[in-house]
Structures are given as C-alpha cells and as structure tokens.
C-alpha cells in the first residue's frame, strides 16, 4: 500500500513538468523575477482540486471524464471539447516531441529536426510495446531528474522572503500584456486539460476502487504540490540567473543557464536530461490521452495493457497522433509552438471543467461520494478562472505573446 502511494506521488511529480512548464516559468522568471510565483500556485491548487475529482469519479464509477461528459451531456456537447482537445493536445504533443529533439540538439549541437523522427519513433515504441505501468511509472521515475531544479534553487539561495511574498498575486509594474500572457500560460501549462482525463483513465487502468480514495487524495495533493515545487524552482532560478544578465528565454540554449549556474559543468547534462525525460513522459501521456479521449468518446475497447491488435482503433489513434505531431514540429519552432499551446490550453479548459460540476454531483456516478458544498464552490471558482482565461487568452497572445 505504501509502495503504491509512493509510486503514485512519484508519478505525479515526474509527470508534472513538461516543455510548457519549463518554457513558461523560465521566461516568466527571466522577465518578471519572482513576481509570477503566484500563477504556479493558482494552477497547482486548481489541478489538485480537479484531479482529485477525476480520480474519485474513476474509482467509484469506473468511468473516466470523457465517458461521463458524453454519457451525461450527450454527443453534441461532447463534440466541442473533443474537437478542441484533439487539436490542442496534438499541438502540445508536437511541442513535447520538439522538446525531446531540442534536448538532443543541446547535447549534440545537431539541428533538432534531425532528432524529431527518432524521438517520435521512440515514443511510439514505448506505447506500442510497453504497458501502462511502464509508460506511467517507468518514465515518471526518470522524470525525477527534474528535481535538480529544486536543488539548484536551494543552491542559489534566493531571498526566500521575496519568493514567499511573490506567492501573493501582484500587479505588474510594466509590460502588463506580457505579464498577464505569461500568467495565463503558466496556469495553462500547469492545468493542462489532458491531465484530467488521463488521470481518470489511469485510475481505471489501475483498477482503483472506493478503498483507494484516500490514496487518490494523497497523490493529488502531495504529487502535484511537489511537482509545482519544480516549476517554482525553474522560475526562481531564471529570476536569479537569467534576468539579471539581461537575457530572455527566446530559445532553450538560454534556459540551460538555470542549471549551469548552480551545478557548473553538470548543469548542461542535468538540463538536457530533465527536458528530454519531462517532454518524453508528457508526450507519452498526451498520446495515450488522445487515444483514451477518442476511444472513450465512441465507446471502443481501450487499454494500454492490451496488445495493439486487441484494441486496434485505440492503438492506431495514438500512432496517427504521434505521426501528425512529428510532422507539425518539423515546420514549427517548438518554443513558439509551446507558448501558443499553453495559452490555448487555457481556452479549452472551461469546456472540460464545467461538466465536472454536473457529473460530480450525480449519485448515479458517485453514489455517496458526490461533491460537498465546499468542493462545489471551489469548482465553480475554478470554472470562473477557466472562463476568464479562455476569454483573454487569445487577445493576450496577440499583444503579450
């Protein structure tokens, strides 16, 4: 039991960071110092609340979020989040594959496009030959290398008082559009819509039951909290190392200095490993989630634990998604693609978060585990935040992106 709990927390930590979190927090730290720490915390609180609900939905009803949205609100509503999430998740998957390729570019100096196909092939192979625990636990364990950002932050000994004060939202003294764009991108990179259905699908894959609800709560709270510590670490390191030297993060070469400063010649290797593994893990989760979303939406047989020919449509969906994403990232700059998709994540979130308010209060699904008043109020606040982000995301992308 304790091992399963530890595994769950490690998986959440390892899976928390991806190319979006690294890019947005590094850029925010370089441009606005510690000031946007609060955005990481807002995104983390939202994702804790929502993943706990999705885990509870899966453990009690053995249905995922995509299942419940289609079954309760019908295909005509479900078609909107399905279409939006397939588009945005494919773009984010392209950014993740680009992240892996860029990590190899940083290590070798060879143009990143050379590594796109090998990275996509490696990602596809892990899903095709591996099962859910290999994808989820194996890759997430490797993802722990990203904890080096936390040690790096500790090593640089920032003004902890200033960092703590930055946990309280504050208005920008300049560049308001860019400030708010980064705030939305950070929340969008932490509260990625795919995380919710993937977390619920993982709970169904691992056959969670009502007795696992306490583990669900623990994993959601501690896993996501430790994971956000890494994001704060990247932001603080960028604030201490990159900003004062007048550098931005226009490219990942500049973000490397966040770990070179505290760890010297080890910094580059740690950054390359963190970026590669974080993006690879997120890419695997995204590919699987696209297959879960489509399969659950149309009622097909689905499981990462089955052999591909036993759920051919499920396997072909993630195969086609990886192929399409690899093609996209051959022609698009991964960092720019990342920044656009993190903002678009915010635009998709309301369509996926709103149904939770209906489903999580439905006794047919949750029996006696429906939401309490407090959870409903907090969920309504998250929905409000998601709608505000959805409305301002695209205009801010134009002005501040």
């Amino acid at each position: 039991m304790i091992l399963q709990l530890a595994l769950g927390i490690v998986t959440a930590i390892g899976g928390f960071i991806d190319v979006g979190a690294i890019a947005t927090t590094a850029l925010a730290g370089a441009l606005f110092g510690y000031q946007l720490v609060w955005a990481v915390l807002v995104g983390t609180l939202c994702v804790i609340l929502l993943t706990e609900m999705c885990g509870r939905l899966a453990a009690v009803s053995h249905h995922t979020l995509a299942d419940a949205v289609r079954e309760r609100l019908g295909i005509r509503y479900f078609a909107v989040p399905l279409f939006l999430e397939v588009v945005v998740d494919t773009m984010v998957l392209a950014a993740e594959i680009g992240g892996v390729a860029i990590a190899l570019h940083l290590a070798t100096g060879i143009d990143y496009r050379v590594f796109v196909i090998p990275a996509a092939l490696a990602l596809w192979s892990v899903l095709w030959f591996g099962n859910f625990s290999v994808v989820e636990n194996g890759v997430a364990f490797l993802g722990l290398v990203a904890v080096s950002f936390v040690f790096g932050m500790w090593e640089m000994r920032p003004e902890w008082g200033d960092v703590a004060r930055a946990a309280i939202p504050s208005l920008p003294s300049r560049d308001a559009a860019q400030y708010w764009f980064l705030a939305i991108s950070i929340v969008g990179s932490v509260l990625q819509p795919f995380l919710l259905n993937f977390y619920a699908s993982g709970a169904v894959e691992e056959k969670w039951k009502i007795k696992d609800l306490w583990m669900n709560r623990t994993v959601a709270v501690f896993g996501m909290s430790f994971g956000s510590l890494i994001a704060v670490g990247i932001l603080v390191l960028a604030a201490v190392v990159i900003g004062p030297r007048g550098m931005h993060v226009d490219s990942f070469e500049q973000a490397v200095f966040t770990l070179v400063a505290p760890f010297g010649e080890w910094g580059l290797s740690l950054f390359v490993a963190s970026l590669a593994v974080a993006c690879f893990g997120a890419g695997a989760d995204l590919s699987l989630n696209l297959a879960y979303l489509v399969s659950q939406g149309f009622g097909w047989n689905w499981s990462e634990n089955l052999k591909p020919h036993e759920d051919a449509r499920f396997a072909l969906v993630y195969s086609f998604a990886i192929l399409l994403a690899a093609a996209v990232v051959m022609f698009a700059d991964p960092l720019k693609l990342t920044m656009v998709t993190m903002a678009l994540n915010g635009a998709v979130a309301p369509f996926i978060v709103f149904p939770l308010l209906i489903v999580m209060n439905d006794k047919a699904y949750l029996r006696d585990q429906t939401n309490g008043l407090l959870t409903n109020v907090l969920t309504s606040v998250v929905i409000l935040i998601a709608f505000v982000i959805a409305i301002v995301a695209i205009p801010l992308e134009v002005l501040g992106g």
């Binding site: 309760r72 609100l73 005509r76 308010l357 209906i358 209060n361 439905d362 006794k363 047919a364 409903n376």
Partner: protein, 101 residues
C-alpha cells in the same frame, strides 16, 4: 434487423421544438419516457422544456431552477403528432399538458 421505411430516430426528435396547432413554440423535446408493454418498451410520454433538460442532465439535485413561468411540460404520446418528425406539433391546447415541476 431489417430497416423499416417509417422508422423514426429518437436522436432526430431530441431537441426539436414542439409547436401548437397555430404554430406557437411550446418548448424543446428533452426526454422520452418509455414503459414496458408486454415484451416491448413503448414511448408513452415526452418531456418538453428547460426542467426536462435539467432532469436528463441529472442536474436537478444541484438546486438549479429555471427562471420564468414556463418551466416545462409532460405530453402523453396521444398529445403529440409525429407525422413530420422535424416539426412535432401538439394535438391539444397547451393548458391540457401536465406541468413539469
């Protein structure tokens, strides 16, 4: 199962506006209530209007009530004419329909 020419698809009726004989809009069909009749199930009632929508979303327990006077009706199968599934019309005055609380 051989397809019969005069079959109706429930999903084509779902959400359709029901009109009175003189063309006034009564509301949208949101639910179909079926009852067992021997070995079969038959549609005996149609729920129309916003409260019916909340009912099928199983969202009544959220305490949401639709503003305004007309919250919904329950029409029996004799009270609705489905000859043209795209334009279901009432066979009786609206006030003969049961109100949906």
């Amino acid at each position: 199962m051989a397809k019969r020419a005069n079959e109706i698809r429930l999903e084509d009726l779902l959400g359709r506006r029901v009109r009175t004989a003189d063309g006034r809009n009564v509301g949208r069909i949101e639910e179909f209530r079926a009852r067992r009749e021997g070995d079969y199930w038959v549609v005996t009632e149609f729920d129309i209007g916003p409260n019916a929508l909340l009912g099928r979303l199983a969202a009544r327990h959220l305490g949401i009530t639709w503003p305004g006077r007309n919250r919904g009706y329950r029409a029996s199968w004799e009270q609705i004419n489905l000859d043209d599934p795209r334009r279901p019309t009432l066979n009786c005055p609206v006030d003969q329909l049961k109100q949906l609380r």
